[in-house]
């Protein structure tokens, strides 16, 4: 395989990871846009929902990669798995907001953020204690279908991931730009106080943001499992940090920014890993986070500035 071919293959892999990071980054951006809060619980809402997805698939009798489905059976299974995971993740996100963040609304300083760290830590350890520290073989009903384009291999699962991610993002875009609640959401993001005075139920908007963001994290979690064929209590930390970097790179608070930032981080991860060394991937991505924050704090599409006025 030529260098060029390898590089192109890494681009394909990067797009798949990028689709996942983009979905995860949207959760950070939706919540940040409205509450100006970095929601650390999001890291492990993602991780917990990957287990929910696993259990949903196992409920349908799928374990490991042995049982392969096609046609309607596959579509139905995926629909069920995504549906269950996304709703469960959404409910979990809303529960986090209602139980631990709403009582702190209006408290100055870092209290809310510290609380999300605590919640994240609880979720992390709850899974560690109940499931254990090993990694779980992820049930995967997708048939292994490969197409060869010159030197690049394209897999069915990759096409599927791209398709699902694009569909979800289009749906989110439609929701935010066309529906009443979506408009209320954009209004709240710009000025919560003014939106409240115009009759927007800000609490409902916040709950919606948590539900949508977490549901998208649920989809990302299932994609993670189907792509890597494993899950573990530890996956939230790395994926979360990368997705957060994606949100910042795209401009935190910006929905298209999160999508594009996610894809860029996916590409940087695979290409950086290829060109430098996989063990330094985290250092590379993290350096990007710092560089963006220091030199271009509004990111690619951002409007909220992370620097103090």
């Amino acid at each position: 395989m030529s260098d060029y071919g390898v590089l192109l293959q890494q681009v394909v892999n990067g797009l798949s990871l990028g689709a996942m990071y983009a979905l995860l980054a949207l959760g950070f951006t939706l919540v940040y846009g409205i509450l100006e809060l970095i929601n650390f619980a999001h890291f492990n809402v993602f991780m917990v929902s990957s287990f929910v997805g696993m259990w949903a698939l196992e409920l349908l009798g799928i374990s490991g990669q042995s049982r392969v489905l096609t046609g309607f059976a596959l579509a139905g299974t995926l629909l069920f798995a995504f549906g269950v995971t996304m709703v469960a993740a959404g409910v979990l996100g809303v529960a986090v907001e209602r139980l631990s963040l709403r009582p702190l609304r209006g408290v100055r300083g870092t209290a809310a953020m510290i609380t999300t760290i605590g919640v994240s830590y609880i979720l992390f350890n709850a899974i560690l204690l109940t499931v254990g520290a090993g990694s779980e073989n992820y049930p995967n009903p997708l048939p292994v279908v490969r197409w060869q384009f010159g030197e690049v291999t394209l897999e069915l699962k990759e096409l599927l991931i791209w398709g699902i991610a694009v569909a979800l993002m289009l749906a989110l875009h439609f929701f935010v730009s066309r529906t009443r609640l979506g408009k209320a959401m954009r209004a709240t993001a710009q000025d919560a106080e003014a939106a409240r005075m115009m009759g927007v139920d800000v609490d409902r908007v916040i709950v919606t943001a948590f539900f949508l963001g977490s549901a998208l994290a649920g989809a990302a979690a299932l994609i993670f499992g189907l792509y890597y064929n494993y899950t573990s209590f530890i996956i939230g930390y790395t994926a979360g940090l990368r997705a957060f970097t994606a949100a910042v790179l795209g401009g935190i608070g910006s929905i298209p920014g999160a999508m594009i930032g996610g894809v860029l981080i996916g590409l940087i991860e695979t290409l950086g890993g290829h060109l430098i060394a996989v063990r330094w991937t985290d250092v590379i991505i993290f350096s990007i986070l710092v560089l963006v924050l220091v030199f271009a704090p509004t990111g690619l599409f951002g409007r909220a500035t992370p620097t103090k006025s």
């Binding site: 510290i114 605590g118 063990r279 985290d282």
Partner: protein, 670 residues
């Protein structure tokens, strides 16, 4: 009658306690704690218990360090374990056989200093590091502080929450680097054979007791450092940044400098602790310094009380001891209970392994129900009695006091000159070609409708907003490019339209932060408390009280109350007092009488007049035109960012364009 009887014993006990002076109480308390700490290994000679106590002390030291960063300066650091790792690996590498570069003459001076030894090996001579533990303690602190500045410098400009995520990343990266550089750190397998400390030939070995005593000494030094820093000009500057960064800058605190200082000192604590910890364990692996350690230290300070020195020590000790002693015992009891009741799952429960879950629960519960922690940093102050609350409304201003007179004061010519000032926000022009002269010892008022650019003018003069084009000269010097704290240093102090006090600090502390730029004590002075530092602090306290006394009995009885608990009018007065504390030549007041009733307004107007009378130049934004007429020598009118009139109050009042700007076109025509 009944109530008197019930109250009797309480009064008696309070008075008995109060009869002992506060200082003696503190001294006795400290002595008791010190004695208990020193005697502990003699009372309980179980080596495992002493070992657990020594580990707990290491975490208490970490908690003290993180408390400087998070508690004092309000910077949320989620990667604090990185500095712990740096200190640990510094000693680990410098005292083990892991890294042995080839011998060259470069190492000769180090051998002379006894830091390295030359060893013969098959392929040639190699270097063996043998740096002493006692030397490494301060050295590791310095190395960690250096990294603290290195990590902090590019990121401290960021909002608190971004700082959190960046530090989280640093905390992630340091163990990765340790894992990926196996020649120096032995990678994931960890450093082995770290030398035990020696003390005059006595080798510490693996016995826990000597480490325990080193831990006690370390924590004692760090407690003393924390207490002295907190109660000093440095600590006040940190807390000002924590409470309100903008106001801190406007009061002369160099934000970048003091944030970096907090980061460096916090990192230094962790560095020294890392050296202690690795010397005790005689091994270091990347896993020892991962995210859970950072979270654990955070939980400790939240549990004990963010910002409270004794609180975080207690928090750390309690949680560590809970982890190593209590949970084991509790699990045993549960097993016994399970056997007794025949419940199977109770017999297998292992609470110690769920410690991190317990930490998470503690963190959330503390944040939701007791944010101030076990031992809160701010103590509650007795409410004022009815008598004390009875204000004596004083008209006619006040007599001259030492506190507000400053030595060099010219008596004529312009003090502040603003020439052709333009300020833009994106496409919006906030100020257009504004010209303004404030003569020495005069009162100039700026009036204009809402949104006309008055506060923007103040923000630009004080360096909070950038000048687009134009000049601002103060006492002949260009100040348009200065940062807020430098502007204050030049002699311009201000208040804010929407009051920016430091709400969780006392009135006295608020005023003393105003003096920041006029005091000299730095971190070393604060730590050593030399006679000069003591004198300075004493004088500052005296002057602060004197300034508070300018407002009669309104602020003085409340000197120890939190600024956030004051009434609206008293908050305004405190903000003016804080500004006066910086010994300004020019005072910028942004709507000082807003929200005050007519009597209070006149009282304050008299006081402003007195300030002016005793030499202070005043630039004032005010909506109440009678106040303006009473105080101002000259009035400037702004509308839509442009100056539309200037002159004595009476002339300006009749100016048609001014009337139009305020009341609309038809009113002007009428």
């Amino acid at each position: 009658m009944r109530s008197t009887l019930a109250a009797l014993p309480r009064v008696w006990t309070t008075s008995l306690f109060a009869r002992v002076p506060a200082r003696t109480r503190t001294r006795v308390g400290t002595l008791v704690i010190a004695a208990a700490a020193l005697l502990f290994p003699l009372i309980n000679s179980n080596d495992a218990d002493i070992d657990a106590a020594a580990n707990a002390l290491a975490f208490a030291a970490l908690a003290l360090g993180l408390n400087i960063v998070v508690g004092f300066a309000g910077l949320l650091d989620l990667g604090y374990a990185a500095f712990f790792a740096i200190g640990a690996y510094a000693y680990g590498v410098a005292s083990s056989w892991q890294w042995h570069p080839e011998w060259s003459s470069f190492w000769e001076p180090f051998r002379w200093l006894d830091l390295v030894a030359r060893y013969h090996q098959g392929g040639g001579d190699v270097v063996h590091f043998q740096v002493s533990f006692w030397l490494m303690l301060p050295l590791a602190a310095a190395i960690a502080a250096f990294f603290g500045v290195l990590f902090g410098a590019p990121t401290l400009r960021l909002k608190g929450d971004y700082l959190a995520i960046v530090t989280l990343g640093f905390g992630e990266i340091v163990p990765i680097v340790a894992r990926n550089t196996p020649t120096i750190t032995n990678g994931a397998m960890g450093l082995n054979g770290v030398a035990a400390p020696q003390f005059f030939g006595y080798d510490f070995g693996v016995d826990a007791t000597p480490y325990y005593y080193v831990g006690v000494a370390l924590v004692a030094v760090l407690i003393l450092t924390s207490l002295r820093l907190k109660d000093s000009r440095v600590g006040r500057a940190w807390m000002a940044i924590r409470e309100d960064e903008i106001a801190a800058a406007a009061m002369g605190v160099d934000r970048v400098r003091f944030k970096l200082l907090a980061f460096a000192i916090g990192a230094a604590f962790a560095g020294a602790t890392g050296t202690f910890y690795v010397a005790k364990l005689q091994t270091a692996t990347p896993e020892m310094f991962m995210f859970p350690v950072s979270v654990m230290v955070l939980v400790m300070i939240v549990f004990g009380g963010i910002g409270s020195v004794w609180g975080v020590v207690v928090g750390a000790l309690v949680l560590q001891i809970l982890q190593s002693w209590f949970l084991e015992d509790l699990s045993q009891w549960l097993h016994a209970l399970g056997r007794f009741a025949g419940i199977d799952w109770l017999q297998h429960i292992e609470l110690a392994s769920s410690i991190e879950l317990i930490f998470g629960v503690i963190l959330v519960l503390m944040m939701l129900y007791r944010r101030e922690g076990l031992i809160p940093a701010t103590r509650h102050v007795r409410a004022l009695s009815v008598d004390e609350q009875n204000v004596q409304v004083a008209r006619g201003g006040f007599d001259p006091v030492r506190a507000i007179t400053s030595s060099d004061r010219r008596t004529d010519g312009p003090l502040l000159e603003v020439a052709d000032l333009n300020v833009r926000f994106g496409g919006l022009v906030a100020l257009r070609a504004v010209e303004l002269v404030v003569p020495v010892q005069k009162v100039v008022a700026v009036i204009g409708p809402n949104g006309s650019g008055k506060s923007t003018l103040f923000n630009t003069i004080t360096g909070l907003l950038p000048v687009h084009t134009g000049d601002i000269r103060f006492a002949g010097e260009e100040i348009g490019r200065l940062r807020p704290h430098e502007v204050l240093y030049q002699g311009i102090a201000r208040t804010f339209q929407n009051i920016r006090l430091f709400p969780d600090l006392t009135v006295l502390e608020n005023v003393m932060i105003g003096m920041h730029a006029r005091l000299a004590t730095g971190p070393v002075g604060a730590l050593l408390r030399l006679p000069a530092n003591r004198r300075e602090e004493e004088a500052a306290r005296e002057r602060a009280c004197e300034i508070l006394s300018l407002f009669g009995n309104r602020l003085l009885p409340r000197a120890d109350h939190l600024a956030g608990s004051l009434s609206y009018a008293n908050r305004r007065r405190t903000e003016i007092a804080r500004a006066l504390a910086s010994q300004p030549k020019l005072l910028l007041l942004d709507e000082p009488t807003a929200g005050m009733n007519p009597a209070e307004t006149l009282e304050l107007a008299d006081q402003i007049q007195s300030l002016n009378h005793y030499g202070l130049t005043v630039l004032l934004i005010e909506h109440k035109l009678d106040v303006v007429a009473m105080l101002a020598d000259k009035v400037i009118v702004l509308d839509h960012g442009e100056k539309i009139a200037e002159g004595p109050p009476e002339t300006v009042r009749r100016d048609e364009e001014v009337i139009r700007a305020y009341l609309g076109r038809s009113a002007a025509l009428a």
